[in-house]
């Protein structure tokens, strides 16, 4: 049985599956239910400073459904916790006391003033939680008040606040990054420079999920109007994976612990992020879609996979995919593959033919053999693009590597590249 326990930026948890700072972690009742279900840790929903109340609107979530798949994407226009600070602090302290083996990280968002951060840090330290996460990511509502992603989009602010926090607390400091920027390395390097113990990403993406064509307003609709919200769920996972990998590949940030967030719904999603060097993963949408029980599959799925592969602990496979992420120019120009259709499994839907014919390389023939439809690959035209394999509903197309005997040669060496590096 594989060992799933982890120590992330000095924070210990029995497994790497945490609940992200969001509605599922807003109060003791939910968090206790999550711990009973088996979650390894939580990031408590973001606390703000005591004082002006946080008030949410009614009608808060928008969703994208694709065919039968509900909630492929989810967005929200909720703010940070709308419960009194002292209630949250009291509950955090109680839950940590009752569940000492679970990771308890507290998300924070206060104005960009050192005194405000010092004040909240003192109050949070008293809960004996395991660490803090600086919410520099929320793209809606709070950002209009100069917090959340308004901070996260300015690397100088990220570094400044991270430094204040490191100076005024001994708790591990995680910085949560917004994806609403052009290059994730800007704020990631800033967090590192400010002394952060780790980063968590991605926060939600600016979005409008749909337009109600009857009332001509975006959803979720609040009395006929809508505001952009933060998008999450399975739809954002590829974007999150890229951003996580960028940080993992960066020389400056390479040793910076990453807690991955973005559409993680099952053990495989989690494992893929960890292969990209994430140390823990945080989940929200999947739990809000199916409830906390999904963690059971995450735990035994990852554990069984590790057993099958012979990995005893997470560090054995963490980051193993990173060396294989390359810049395009270093890919092997001499690699060739062609599609192969398993004619026994083919159900003759013809999608491979029509997509190649209409939109690609005219490399799938459509014939009749004894009156039966017969689709096949024209090797001379096939460029190995994978499109037919992806659209095949029966999964009966594979890509076969062509042994052409040619050596590795990347674009920088390719004679077709006018800017190639001259051979020595």
């Amino acid at each position: 049985m594989a060992d799933l326990s982890c120590s992330f930026a000095g924070i210990k948890s029995p497994n790497p599956f945490w609940l992200a700072s969001a509605p599922p972690t807003d109060k003791e009742y939910n968090v206790v239910r999550a711990f009973k279900a088996g979650w390894g840790g939580v990031v408590w929903k973001t606390l703000g400073e005591a004082g002006p109340p946080i008030v949410n609107v009614s009608s808060r979530y928008g969703a994208v459904h694709i065919g039968e798949q509900r909630v492929f994407g989810l967005n929200n226009i909720e703010l940070i916790t709308d419960r009194p600070l002292e209630v949250n602090l009291r509950e955090i302290k109680q839950v940590k006391k009752d569940w000492p083996d679970r990771a308890m990280v507290v998300s924070l968002m206060v104005p960009c003033e050192e005194e405000a951060w010092i004040k909240i840090l003192r109050e949070v330290e008293d809960t004996e939680c395991d660490g803090i996460e600086l919410n520099f990511g929320c793209p809606h509502g709070m950002s209009e008040r100069g917090m959340g992603s308004a901070v996260g989009q300015v690397p100088e602010y990220v570094e400044m606040v991270a430094r204040w926090c490191k100076a005024h607390t001994s708790m591990p400091v995680l910085v949560k990054l917004t994806p609403n920027i052009t290059n994730i390395l800007g704020p990631a390097r800033a967090a590192k420079a400010g002394g952060a113990d780790g980063v968590s990403l991605i926060n939600t993406i600016n979005s409008i999920t749909s337009v109600d064509l009857d009332i001509m307003a975006p959803t979720p609709t609040v009395d006929g109007k809508g505001a952009h919200g933060g998008y999450c769920g399975p739809a954002v996972r590829p974007i999150a994976m890229h951003m996580v990998s960028e940080i993992a590949r960066d020389a400056e940030c390479a040793d910076l612990p990453i807690s991955a967030i973005g559409g993680i719904s099952n053990w495989r999603d989690a494992t893929e992020f960890m292969a990209l060097n994430a140390g823990t993963v945080q989940v929200c949408t999947a739990a809000m879609h199916y409830g906390f029980k999904i963690v059971e599959d995450m735990i035994d799925g990852m554990s069984d996979w590790m057993d099958d592969k012979g990995y005893a602990r997470i560090s054995d496979f963490q980051g193993l995919a990173i060396p294989n992420i390359s810049d395009w120019q270093h890919l092997n120009m001499n690699f060739e593959s062609v599609a192969r259709i398993d004619q026994e499994k083919c159900i003759k839907c013809g999608l491979c033919h029509i997509v190649c014919e209409d939109t690609s390389h005219q490399a799938v023939s459509a014939d009749r053999k004894d009156g039966e439809r017969f689709y096949d690959i024209i090797d001379a035209e096939c460029v190995g693009c994978n499109l037919c394999m992806h659209v095949c509903p029966e999964n009966c197309i594979t890509m076969k590597t062509v042994d052409n005997g040619k050596p590795y040669m990347n674009w920088t060496e390719d004679p077709r590249n006018p800017h190639r590096v001259a051979a020595e």
Partner: protein, 446 residues
Amino acid sequence: MSPMSDIAAGRRSPADYDTAYSDIHPALSDRQALVESSRCHFCHDAPCIEACPTSIDIPGFIRRISTENPKGAGKTILNANIMGATCARVCPVEELCEQACVRFTGEHKPVAIALLQRFATDAVFEAGLQPYGRSAQTGKRVAVVGAGPAGLACAHRLAREGHDVVVYEAQAKPGGLNEYGLAAYKMTNGIAQAEVEFILSVGGISIEYGKVLGSDHTLDDLRRDFDAVFLGMGLGGVNALNLDGEENDAVIDAVSYISDIRQASDLANLEIGRRLVVIGGGNTAIDIAVQAKRLGADEVTLVYRRGPEQMGATDYEQELAQTNGVLIRHWAKPVGLSGENGSAVDVRFENTTLAGDGRLQGTGLEFTITADQVFKAIGQVFDEAPLASGESLKIVGGRIEVDAEGRTSLADVYAGGDCVPGDDLTVSAVENGKVAALAIHSALSA
């Protein structure tokens, strides 16, 4: 001497009739349609289209359902098959589009094309949509004989092209077998008449009821008075058992009784025997057996002279009979009927087998079933007597000879539906009518 027969009306409670004759395949809800439509792969060169006699763009209409464009879906169907609503309910899809579905190949569970087609055509009717208009009037007039699927499909297409059409219908109502012949639990809620109203609402079509070819007018009359004639009169006669005792009141033509069921204002008024024998192996035999069972008949035995594979009824229909409690006996043919009016009928059967040369032969072994009523469902025949005219139409195999576009041996006369060679499906009749209309239009435009 056979005992008194037990034939009675009102065998069931009023609520039981409603249940027994309610929709056999209830309509899909919006949600069900959306989920089912997502199963369609949107095939290229889709096998389902090829399997449809009217070549409906099935992936095209199903995709429109999946994008919540049901009216567009309905129009896609009607463009190819103006009786798409009836066909959705009665087509033997298990031998046509759904059998060809690649989901059937892959997982033995085809996309529910018929139910989706019904969903889409219902959407058009419910919206009161009329997608078609008429081209500029041509001044040409076409006579159509028979307001069944072939005749109405032909009339609709001709009217769209700007021709004026007069339909001569022998019955008091339009629709042909859609109205008089199909099983009641497949054609609920007055769909046959709603569909006819929809077809006629395009304009340019008038129907004269109670007009019988051969008695009220002749083919010569129509050829004289119109620019072209389309014959879509269906099958006028039924096969006989050719047994003594067949004239007994208790020996009934199934087609005629099915018509009584369809036209009954109250099913409780229909008399039905307690023990029935149905003779035949086609869909009519299944239809009468199942409907009789649902009217409250106790024992219904369907006897067919060959095996299940040779039955005209599809596997689905045979199973429907069995799940409705009909006992099917294969390999037996009727050889004698005894009994007088008012008494039960003893039907004597002889077991059959295939001879070495493949012909059916009796084994000499016999059995007898006593029945209150015997329903004959051994096929219908085309009655060519009404066609008697100056120039005679060429008949082949007992039906009117036509080419691929419905032309008969007379230049200005076209034909389609059950009165021409081919299968006896509603969908094929619609295709015949549509194809002939295009040929007529082309001839009249020349």
